[in-house]
Every structure is written in C-alpha cells, then in structure tokens.
C-alpha cells in the first residue's frame, strides 16, 4: 500500500509569515494525527482527527495553528503567523482507528520547517 504522503518536505520562512502543510493518509485510514517534533524531543501530538471530526486538539496553539480534514481524507495544517519556536519537523501519521481495533500509526516523511 502507498504510504502517508506529506508536502512540502522542507520550508523556510521568516517569522510572522504563514505556512501550510499537506498530508494524504493511507487509503482507508480513519484516524489522522499531526505531530510537532522539535530537535532532540519526541513527537508531540497537535491534533487528532477521526474521519473529518476532531478527536483532540488540546495541544494545538489555536491562536496561530489551525488544521482541517475535509471529506475525511487529506488534511492541512496551517501556521499563521509563524514564530521562531515553531521551527520543527511536522509529522503526519494515520491509522485504521478504533473501529478496526488497531492503533498502529504509519508516518509520513515529515516537513522540516525553519523559521528565521
């Protein structure tokens, strides 16, 4: 099966600019996750979708971050405006979800964001 796709792979922006990331999960995967991974740390969950509904966005800085998953497939994550501390790798992952009784997450290659 095709893996999780993400784009772009790299992005360099200046602070206060906007940026958007795109994720296409594995076909049939109901659950989609966005993570932020700062250098030297493990992934931190930003938002979890089940189909096109939000399960948990408690760690999403909603004053600047937004995410959507229209039609329950692709998802976009936006940062507006970006801050220096947003420099990180943004990972998208998907899984079949609880309906299939499995929670193995499959990851995309990530987007490396540098905010100058």
């Amino acid at each position: 099966e095709a893996g999780v796709a993400q784009s772009p792979r790299y992005k360099i922006i200046e602070k206060r600019q906007s940026v958007a990331f795109w994720c296409n999960p594995i076909s049939g995967h109901a659950t989609l996750y966005w993570y932020q991974q700062i250098l030297g740390q493990g992934p931190k969950l930003l938002i979890q979708f089940q189909n096109n509904g939000v399960v948990d966005d408690s760690q999403l800085p909603k004053d600047r971050f937004s995410a959507e998953r229209l039609k329950g497939v692709d998802s976009t994550l936006k940062i507006q405006p970006a801050k220096l501390e947003d420099s990180a790798v943004y990972l998208c992952a998907s899984s079949y979800g609880p309906d299939r009784g499995t929670d193995t997450q499959y990851f995309g290659p990530g987007t490396r964001l540098t905010v100058l």
Partner: protein, 108 residues
C-alpha cells in the same frame, strides 16, 4: 502524570555486543507500549509492541509492570541497527505519549 522516559539520549556499542535501550513509563491504567524506530533518511516506523510479544530484527522487549519498564534488547548488535529509537505509550483513545528518543550507534 502520564510520561515516558528514555534516560539515554545516546548509546554507543560495538558490533556484536548486547544492546539494551531503556524505557520507563508512568501510567495509571493498563499500559500498551511500543518501540518505534527511525533509520537515517527514513520515516518513523513501528518496531514492536508489547502485546504481540514478538521478536523483530532480533529485538525483544518485555513489559515489567513492577518496575514500570519496557526495555528494548538485542543480544548481538549489527551495524544496521544504528538509528533513533522511541518508546511510546498508548492511551485509551489511541493517542501515543512519546519518549525523547535514544540514538543508537553501532561501532564496527
């Protein structure tokens, strides 16, 4: 508090030597634990999960509820084992709590 701790940021061993990557957790319920691995220039992927009780690429991990540990072990390290290893704990809503990771370097 729910937490996963990997005390070693870096572990360096010689090829053929035994490897043990440590993972400790704090969780009030019945934990489900995983090891994920990221090889150089590859994406993060599942290595093994405790519920499967299987050996993958020679690695095993046993859940020790008394010591709240889930250490990853391999009796004889190979150069291709060099990678970042992350321990993760699954909450009831299938969310993962991650450790900070251990970089394993296998010296020839």
């Amino acid at each position: 508090a729910q937490r996963v701790t990997q005390p070693e940021k870096l572990l360096s061993v010689f090829k053929g030597a035994p490897v043990e990557l440590k993972c400790n957790y704090s969780y009030s319920g019945s934990p489900e634990l995983f090891w994920y691995v990221q090889y150089s220039r590859q994406r993060l992927q599942l290595l093994l999960r405790h519920i499967s009780r299987e050996s993958i690429k020679g690695f095993t991990a046993d859940l020790n509820k008394g010591e709240t540990s889930f250490h990853l072990k391999k009796p004889f390290a190979q150069e291709e084992d060099s990678a970042m290893y992350y321990c993760a704990l699954s909450r009831s809503n299938y969310q993962l709590i991650w450790g900070a990771g251990t970089k394993l370097i296998i010296k020839p």
